[in-house]
């Protein structure tokens, strides 16, 4: 940078100065939050880690599909009607209809893989910025603490949706490639068209994504507690495993309805005819409770926190 080079630029800065200086008083662009949100989501998606997580999630349906294909030798195997609505039951249906791979893959990834990926992204949301030091520059920009937290949570929600859709899309592609597709037999035994089945599959993916919102809020809260990205990710995933274990101990049935993962498997009810909403609504209410409690806690913590990293 030479003097000759900088001098004219200095001039342009100066002439624009007075105009720009009134900025803070000027009415804000109503889209200002979207600008940061866009930046946040694209930044998140450009991390290698996000690619790796989505890659693993996309690989799960491929593995399931290939395993089922090898196991049944490609022929139309067991066509026993699923009655329990439990995850693995969908596997039997896959050989008859590739669309069922979507449900089977979601059922396989929902207990561990999906929430783990969400836990990594949510746990890292604030703590990762703190440990890399970028948080202080975002805050003096000034991003605003409440606004930044909202944007962070929104981008974690976007990741929940993207992750679920990646599983569903990969499963749909693999299912259509390896198995026949056609009319869908619901859990209730009735048959619906393939198009209707696709809609149900999309709805299922959406329900799964919503199921993750409570856990995402929990991860965001943990993320505001520490300045270490790795620590926050580990704590969030640790909480997930703890809750899964608690949910599997029958003696603790009293607390089960309050565990965020308890109603996760209710997404299978989307495949009933008509859709069986009871557990789905309980799931949504529980997620809403978790989101309210932990987003409030995260806000209270983050807006009062000393940023020393």
């Amino acid at each position: 940078m030479s003097q000759a080079e900088t001098a004219p630029q200095a001039g342009t800065v100066h002439t624009r100065g007075p105009v720009d200086q009134h900025d803070p008083a000027r009415p804000r662009n109503p889209l200002w939050t979207l600008g940061l949100l866009r930046s946040e989501i694209t930044t998140m998606l450009r991390r290698h880690r996000t690619f790796a997580l989505l890659g693993v999630l996309a690989a799960v349906p491929v593995l399931i599909g290939i395993a089922v294909r090898i196991e049944t030798g490609g022929g139309g195997g067991g066509s026993g009607g699923p009655d329990g609505g439990a995850g693995p039951a969908f596997l039997a249906q896959v050989t008859n209809n590739g669309l069922f791979l979507v449900f089977a893959a979601l059922a396989a990834t929902l207990p561990v893989f999906l929430p783990m990926a969400v836990g990594v992204v949510a746990g890292d949301a604030v703590a990762g910025e703190a440990s890399s030091g970028t948080l202080r520059y975002l805050l003096v920009a000034p991003a605003g603490r409440t606004r930044l937290l909202l944007v962070k949570y929104a981008s974690v929600l976007a990741f929940c949706l993207v992750a679920t859709l990646v599983v569903a899309a990969s499963a749909l592609a693999v299912g259509a490639l390896l198995f026949p597709v056609g009319e869908v037999t619901t859990i209730s035994g009735t048959r619906i068209s393939f198009g209707e089945g696709l809609v149900r599959a999309a709805l299922t993916a959406l329900v799964v994504a919503v199921s993750l919102t409570g856990f995402a809020a929990l991860g965001l809260f943990v993320s505001t507690l520490t300045g270490s990205g790795i620590g926050a990710m580990a704590a969030t995933v640790g909480l997930l495993i703890t809750v899964q274990i608690l949910d599997s101990i029958p003696q603790l049935s009293g607390v089960h309805p309050y565990l965020f993962s308890h109603y996760w498997i209710s997404f299978a009810d989307v495949l009933r005819e008509p859709v069986h909403w009871d557990d789905l609504i309980k799931n949504f209410q529980l997620q809403g409770l978790y989101v309210t409690v932990f987003c409030s806690a995260a806000w209270a913590r983050f807006t009062a926190k000393d940023i020393t990293a």
Partner: protein, 373 residues
Amino acid sequence: MTTTGTGGSAGACAARAGAGAASGGAGTASTPGASGSAHASGGADAARATGTAGAAGAEETGPVVIRTRGLTKRYRGGQLAVDGLDLTVPGGSVFGFLGPNGSGKTTTIRMLMGLIDPTSGTAEVLGRPMPGAARTVLPEVGALIEGPALYGFLNGRDNLLRYDRADPTADPRTRRARVDEALARVGLAAASGKKAKAYSLGMKQRLGLAAALLRPRRLLVLDEPTNGLDPQGMREIRSLVRELAAEGTTVFLSSHLLDEIEQVCTHAAVMARGRLIVQGPVADLAAGARGRLAVTTPDPGDAARILREQGLTGLSADGDRLTADAPPAAVDLADLNAALVSGGVRVRFFGVERGSLEDAFVALTGEGFDVAG
């Protein structure tokens, strides 16, 4: 405020007038006369000549950009990081913030930027309270705090775009142009497409500076901006700071490099162990350490005798080099030199060596730059 100024009144006055001229040159509305006639508003100890003259002068020369009153931060462990800080940064100044490691400089800067809540006391930046008015104040403040922090997986330009998007008051229509301008200004235009993790420390430092320059700012807070830069880079940063100051931007510069402060700053403050030791125009502070008259001659004995006859004190000889306390302003150096020559002393070198900020600093802090325990 604990002040230990040692400046003679004549020296301080002259220095103050000089500082007024310097800040006038930096684009403020001050006049040397107004600054020269500045008088301290409170306190009665002689030490205020260096201690508060700058603050009082600043109130007359223009708006105060940073003002803290009793600013205190005690961390949860009970450690008192900043203790009753009363800091005044006059508008248009290049303000050097000095202190040993661990003296509370960074904690102060973080409180000024609203990153840390003070335990007690108040801070005003650009006339508005912090952290309360952060949303209106910070868009007009560019900051480089404790080194740059970048997204390694993004290239230089995308890093700046991200920081600019974080500012809700930044105009998205001029965003790309402003980013390019900032990159060019710190000499990174050619490397802007490279991933930030491939940057050297100096390049990261430049990118951090570019982020602070994304918009025209009224105040720039630069925490050790030349860290990690090569000598060439340091010179560029210094010239950039001068250039920005000439445009009217107030620059608050923390550094541990005394000659850096002396070269670019008009004002300075010194912290030690969480307390403010002294603040004021650099020339005043440096004047606190009085200059020395130095004579180089093959006849040091005769020279010492003649100088003593002329009323000089504090003589000391080292080989053919003789030094003494600088004479009062009333004494013409030419007469001294003539006395030496007419006394048969052969003079190789003759002149007054000005007191440096470093001398003043050592005089103020005693032990110098030891890390506070």
